[in-house]
Symmetry: C2
Subunit: 320 residues, 2 copies
Amino acid sequence: MVYLGIDVGGTGIKVGVVDENGAILRQGETPTLVGRPFGEIVRDMGVCALSVLEQGGFTVADVVSIGVGVPGVADQKTGTVVFCTNLGWHNEPLRAELQKYIDKPVYIDNDATVAGYAESICGVSMGCHSSVFLTLGTGVGGGIVIGGRPWSGFHGVGSEIGHIPMDIDGEPCTCGNNGCLERYCSATAIIRMGRQAMLNHPDSALYQACGGDTNNVTAKIVLDCAKEGDDVSLKVFRHYVHYMCLALDTIIAFLDPEMIILGGGVSKAGNFLLDAIRERLPRYLIFKTLPYSRIEIARLGADAGMIGAAMLGKQPVKEA
Amino acid sequence: MVYLGIDVGGTGIKVGVVDENGAILRQGETPTLVGRPFGEIVRDMGVCALSVLEQGGFTVADVVSIGVGVPGVADQKTGTVVFCTNLGWHNEPLRAELQKYIDKPVYIDNDATVAGYAESICGVSMGCHSSVFLTLGTGVGGGIVIGGRPWSGFHGVGSEIGHIPMDIDGEPCTCGNNGCLERYCSATAIIRMGRQAMLNHPDSALYQACGGDTNNVTAKIVLDCAKEGDDVSLKVFRHYVHYMCLALDTIIAFLDPEMIILGGGVSKAGNFLLDAIRERLPRYLIFKTLPYSRIEIARLGADAGMIGAAMLGKQPVKEA
């Protein structure tokens, strides 16, 4: 028996046939082509899934369940996608629509939540009782696992860690509030700080690396320049680490999970980022001498979404 | 069969004989007399418990287990109180010491955690799957219940909601950080804001009520003056509600529990506080039109600590 995992992104829809241990047996992809009617996108999703199954030598009869990770909020009871800003979805009956193509149980959850769940099934947090996963990308997504099961909140609106208020009168956020965590901890934050630093220091390696054009600033360039010892980029990096430590302190003071996992584009900085965070973090904690959450870099990369979505059906999500 | 619940405070130690539904059958109290050797305090705890049992017509044989709520951090595996600043305890073997007097299983957890647990057993959040309890007092304590069980974190250092950073460069906190949530949401915060407002407005009802002496400012006076329509106190109150909404938004964005419960001294303002919070809160949330945590005032008052501590033994705390 196998599990189908579908990771719906703004660009592509990835489909994986996954075994009960989270191993991907076969995978495929189809473009999302955002802007099309909902029904067309789900049709392509279904067609792609059937095709991937067939290529792997499986039939629908082999499928236990289908899991879908979406960049938004899902109602797990009704199988409806409540909000999915990037795809323009609002109260779309994803479960019912998808079952037209493959009539199996369909579970839906937030993409960061399923990615975090995947890490706890067969990634860096494998076997952890509780974990919080952070995707450090354009924004900051959060995935909470408690007791080995994903937790998106009682109403499905939790684990939005990127929108925890971190600075009362801080940077305006797309959500309408000020000072949300993702204003400080995303790749976008590094770019914002990097642009300002570059303009202030035309003699810097960062300025060189971007050809003097702020449009060329990426989080990777800033982090690479910092790694190579550019003082201006290192200052941005230290600021970023400061903000990350505040975010991690928030997670520890609130939930104190067994592990906190850093994923997403920024996490590709690897040990350079991890070592800096691990060195600085204790001074932010309330109980500076007591054990606290292990901080690790995610292992599953871009496959995490498919794997975690597939595994949603491994044990049915408990009805609250 | 009955459960013993012990609530250790800075002034008094309260002991209750509690039935399996959280009802207090008999209770008593003994002074803590902070500063005495640890062994003496635990001896009084044991003697008081034995006496309360006897007064209620019970014997040690009737006792299933003993639960203790402490204003600090406990290691549930070893039964040690790791940190208890107000009592000056550091790595004290509370379980072993208490078992010298009553040889039953001993469970120990944070006082706000057990108070929140009590509300979920027989208080306002009875039957809730998940809840977060806030004690709004000198500081802000937090108690998390998930799946009907108290959650203090994997390492026991979680649910310290008062020390979530809310303002990066904000008010200095006793914990060494800046801008912790309890700097804005505690009774102490109301007093701080009230004192300043009073000094700025010698013509205010607040100034009158305090006899012009900032030492007389209490959270109750500020809230009472606000209730009576004093503009100066109302402005402080609106500031407080703003901060509370940010705190509640943090809890919802992170954990999205079924219910959030307001306890502690400030919560005695009752519906005056609750109505203002409920009215303002939606504008702070990311998903302003989706269901979110119910906000309620705690019901069990000062008994919550005893009841929740007692109930720790109802189902043994799972080893993580």
